[in-house]
């Protein structure tokens, strides 16, 4: 078995270093970054937020992760390719079983051979741990930057909940929530990093003790000097909320999107949805008599309600002069999305013709168990019993059978160019993310059901350099076509990055070149060992059987409701009608037969009256007699 570290060191001995970090994932009590409510969070080495990672693109990164939590944990390096090494990707139930408590796993990120640089982030991909705080930015520096600037900062955005994710999840996926209303965040956070450490709070403020090393929101500021050009790397680490970002009194130019350098694109507003990254260049002003507000407003369209107590608009600042006041110009005229399809990458990658189209239509519905779930093509994702990559590596020749991994899986051939045609049939907007790749955005429709080419244009195959990114926003009713080259053998999940929706089942898996994956690399022993430590089966199809058609022990569902007249209803209705008819016949029977003559009636009445008189009681209104 090849020890990955030694291999990396052997490949590029001169240039490649290895940047190692040791992360002991722990709970941190009473963190209160927004100053509104302390809560328990998941941090690293007893601190929160987890430290930013800064690395050169000629280095490799190794994250030694030790799990001090009470539940399995993973770390996913969002946007990194992990070519042919899916087991480093960190997606629970797809690439590993999770690191058991008190165990450790080394994530080897082969940055130097991946050709990647730019702004990325790392977060847990087990349950909703990243919503509880296990997330941090990663900046990868190329030897020379394509754009010129004097200084850079990382701007971390995130929505923030006061309750733990597991509590919120049980309320979200519940029969008491048939409409699927996502929990609304309690506040938002903005904080800054530079050179692998966070910027501290503004002098003179009194932030909460546990997170006092980091400045948040209005307690944080970016120090600007006149005349300089700054690069701001904006990362959205939210569970749910999209952010609108702009700086009063300053203009921005987009120069990078999800790790792809692009030609500079001026914009008044950066709309960054969950898991996306943008780098903007901001030129500082020449006057220093005022400081200026940085706005990061959450998009409340997606929120079921906007409670009174919620302030969705976070305001921070750039500081030129510590004694000046902050100029806050309030709202801008119009919110709009970034027209990312118009961005032009600096490194040209041509558009290859595709040989396969996979259509994925998004739908949410209340299912037959009363909960609201998300579906691609009418199928909701259920985690397989065996992590998908383990199935791929152990099924031998049967690994090319897509159904073996579950009804939401697709098998792709090595180096096949395929299109994902994503159609958002839901009322909300969704950010979709593909692991292991960047995709080219080759087409967008404003109405994917329309025949009108203005609303639903055909793919323009003559594009020379479509934009590439790993997380794409699709508004309601719209469609997007993503072109991908299947050059990464392994198991890769494609899902909505709104954590609630992922857990509601809005995901599919792509099995790329299973046979090539089997031949290429060997999994680290820890993968199988840790699965066995968690009593998870490690081979076979999604249900752990070598017979790919045998899914016993694994339950799919829930499924969409099938209402209407079925045997149960028809039987019940028949029963009702039957008893009604019987009742009516009984009424008739009562009225007939055993005929009583007038004399008998009078006799009976007399008997009753005498009995009543003997009792001597009078009911109701008094009869006018003694």
């Amino acid at each position: 078995m090849r020890f990955a570290l030694a291999l990396l060191a052997a490949v590029s001995p001169v240039l490649a270093g290895v940047h190692e970090v040791w992360w002991n994932i722990t709970y941190v009590q009473d963190a209160n970054p927004d100053g509104l409510q302390p809560r328990r969070v998941i941090g690293v080495n007893g601190t929160w937020p987890p430290p930013p990672i800064d690395v050169q693109s000629t280095d490799d990164l190794v994250v030694h992760a030790y799990n001090s939590l009470d539940q399995p944990m993973t770390l996913h390096h969002h946007g990194m390719y992990f070519n042919s090494t899916t087991w480093m990707d960190g997606a629970l139930a797809v690439s590993q079983c999770g690191i058991p408590p008190n165990k450790s796993f080394d994530y080897v990120v082969p940055i130097s051979t991946s050709g990647q640089w730019g702004t990325y982030w790392i977060h847990s991909h087990a349950g909703g741990q990243y919503v509880d705080g296990l997330r941090a930015p990663i900046v990868i520096h190329p030897p020379t930057e394509k754009h010129a600037y004097d200084e850079e900062f990382t701007v971390v955005l995130g929505d923030w909940y006061h309750d733990e994710h597991s509590v919120l999840l049980s309320k979200f996926i519940s029969i008491a929530n048939p409409g699927g209303a996502e929990p609304v965040p309690d506040s938002a956070l903005i904080y800054y990093a530079q050179n692998a450490s966070y910027l501290g709070p503004i002098a003179g403020t009194h932030p909460d003790a546990v997170t006092s090393a980091v400045g948040f929101n209005e307690n944080a500021t970016l120090p600007f000097q006149p005349g300089k050009t700054y690069r701001l790397r904006i990362v959205n680490t939210s569970a749910f909320a999209m952010f609108f970002v702009w700086i009063d009194g300053h203009e921005m130019q987009i120069i990078e999107v999800d790790g792809t350098d692009v030609e500079s694109y001026p914009t008044d507003l950066v709309t960054v949805t969950v898991a996306q990254r943008y780098s903007v260049l901001v030129t500082a002003r020449n006057d220093t008599n005022a400081n200026w507000a940085i706005h990061a407003n959450m998009d409340t369209d997606m929120f079921d309600t906007v409670p009174e107590a919620l302030n969705p608009n976070v305001t921070s600042s750039v500081t030129y002069n510590a004694s000046a006041s902050v100029t806050d110009l309030g709202f801008i005229d119009l919110y709009h999305d970034v027209d990312d399809i118009a961005l032009v990458p600096l490194v040209v990658e041509p558009m290859l013709p595709s040989t396969r189209t996979i259509q994925l239509e998004v739908l949410f519905d209340t299912m037959d168990d009363g909960t609201n779930r998300a579906m691609f093509n009418g199928q909701t994702y259920v985690s397989p019993l065996v992590p998908t990559v383990l199935s791929e590596m152990t099924l031998g020749a049967n690994a090319t059978t897509a159904s073996a991994y579950g009804p939401f899986s697709f098998v792709l051939n090595h180096l096949e160019v395929f299109d994902i045609v994503l159609q958002n049939g839901d009322a909300g907007k969704h950010p979709f993310h593909l692991h292991g790749h960047k995709f080219q955005i080759v087409q967008r429709s404003t109405d994917y059901t329309s025949d009108d080419p203005a609303l639903n244009p055909p793919i323009n195959e003559t594009q020379v350099n479509p934009v590439r990114r790993d997380t794409v926003q699709v508004p309601s009713g719209e469609g997007v076509t993503l072109r991908v080259i299947a050059d990464n053998p392994g198991a890769w999940i494609f899902h909505c990055h709104i954590e609630w929706h992922l857990e509601a089942g809005l995901a599919v898996t792509f099995l790329e070149a299973p046979l090539v994956a089997q031949a290429r690399n060997t999994m680290p022993a820890a993968i199988v060992e840790q699965c066995e430590a968690l009593s998870v089966p490690v081979s076979g199809n999604a249900a752990g059987h070598s017979d790919v058609a045998d899914f016993s022990g694994w339950t799919l569902g829930p499924f969409q409701q099938n209402n209407g007249w079925h045997s149960k209803g028809i039987g019940a209705m028949a029963g009702c009608v039957l008893t009604a008819v019987l009742g009516m016949l009984t009424v008739v029977w009562y009225a007939l037969g055993g005929h009583i003559s007038e004399e008998e009636m009078e006799h009976e009445a007399r008997v009753q009256q005498e009995a009543k008189a003997r009792r001597g009681k009078l009911f109701g209104l008094i009869k006018p007699k003694n």
Binding site: P178, D365, G564, W565, G569, C576, G583, T586, Q609
Partner: protein, 383 residues
């Protein structure tokens, strides 16, 4: 909740009470005629108010009068008495209506402030009260063909007691007071029933239903008085009772449904109609027996006839186990009650056993037969 203009349960309540009052009045009229023409009977009615004869005079030997005078006096007597009866009835009716209107007005204004009437819980409670009242009403309605006999006996006892005690104080006015009190009592029953049922109905549906019920009750009462055939009356009552029980069963089913809906709304924390209309997510999947995405009687937009169907049969597009079982059990209760009633009257045997009344009837019938046989043998013997 039925059409917003005509409340079916209230129609039946008012109809039934009016019918009973009309029957009483018709019985009184018939009784009066019978007594007026009955000189030889032991029970005598007091004379008309103009007649100064006191009770003692009746013990005296009859005064000889001419046949024409006698007939005239009889007719005048009859007219006076009938006038008294109708006057009493109408006064009673008027008082009942006045009290009823005042009661309902206060009830509605006060009650609507006390709780949200749109809450499913209250709807359920009112429907439950209504269906119990309707059950009682439906089942006793079948006995109305015997009402005449019952009332004749009651009234004769009333006159009887009058005569025996010799109290002349209310003697003149008994034919005014008795119908007044009776109609008043029936009217108050109607008012209470209507009050109980009407809480679940929109206010606009009550007046028309009450008035139509009143008119129909009067008409039917008159018909019963005029065409005294028992068979037609029985058929009529059977049809009415079936209708009433259908409505009652529907109400009970709806009451159970409303309680379950209340629980589900409470679980969701809001009115579930906001969530999904008629489709998935608008109802509780647990315990659901059938669900149609159409034909919702509560739907304000696509009502068609479904709300009428709901008013009469308790139809719902989303039935729960509770609502279905409720419907079935209501009818079963009606069946059991009817069988018990018929047994208690002595008209049928249950598992071979007879009730006390049944035993009495059989013995009297045997006695009557025995007399007839004896009479026949006597005649034969004497012939």
């Amino acid at each position: 909740m039925g059409k917003n203009v005509f409340s079916v349960p209230i129609f039946f309540i008012v109809f039934r009470e009016t019918l009973e009052a009309a029957i009483i009045v018709s019985v009184l009229c018939g009784l009066v005629e019978q007594i007026a023409y009955d000189h030889n009977g032991l029970h005598r009615a007091p004379d008309s108010p103009d007649d100064k004869d006191s009770a003692e005079d009746l013990a005296a030997p009859p005064v000889l009068v001419s046949p024409e005078d006698a007939a005239l006096r009889k007719r005048r007597f009859l007219r006076r008495m009938r006038w008294q009866i109708f006057a009493g009835s109408f006064v009673g009716l008027f008082i009942a209506l006045a009290i009823g209107a005042a009661f309902i007005a206060v009830w509605f204004t006060k009650a609507s402030n006390l709780w949200a009437k749109s809450e499913e819980l209250w709807e359920g409670i009112f429907e439950l009260i209504a269906c119990i009242m309707i059950f009682v009403m439906g089942v006793t309605m079948l006995k109305m063909d015997r009402a005449k006999a019952k009332w004749r006996v009651k009234l004769q006892r009333a006159f009887d007691g009058q005569h025996v005690d010799g109290k002349a104080k209310s003697g003149k006015w008994v034919l005014f007071v008795l119908p007044m009190i009776t109609v008043l009592r029936e009217g108050m029953e109607a008012v209470i029933f209507v009050g109980g049922v009407s809480l679940g109905q929109p206010a606009t549906s009550i007046p028309l239903a009450a008035v139509v019920g009143l008119i129909c009750g009067l008409i039917c009462g008159y018909i019963i008085y005029t065409f005294a055939s028992r068979t037609t009356l029985t058929v009529f009552l059977v049809v009415m009772t079936n209708f009433i029980l259908l409505i009652g069963a529907g109400l009970f089913s709806r009451a159970v449904w409303a309680f379950q809906e209340q629980r589900f709304n409470h679980l969701l924390g809001a009115d579930v109609d906001d969530a999904g209309g008629d489709g998935p997510g608008s109802f509780d999947v647990r315990g659901n027996v059938w669900h149609l995405d159409c034909c919702n009687p509560d739907d304000n937009f696509d009502n068609s006839g479904w709300s009428l169907f709901n008013a009469i049969f308790g139809w719902t597009n989303s039935a729960t186990l509770g609502s279905v079982l409720g419907y079935v059990f209501y009818w079963l209760a009606a069946i059991v009650t009817l069988v018990a009633m018929k047994w208690k009257e002595g008209r049928t045997k249950v598992l071979g056993r007879e009730s006390a009344a049944g035993v009495r009837r059989r013995e009297r019938a045997a006695l009557a037969r025995g007399d007839a046989e004896m009479a026949a043998t006597d005649e034969k013997a004497s012939a």
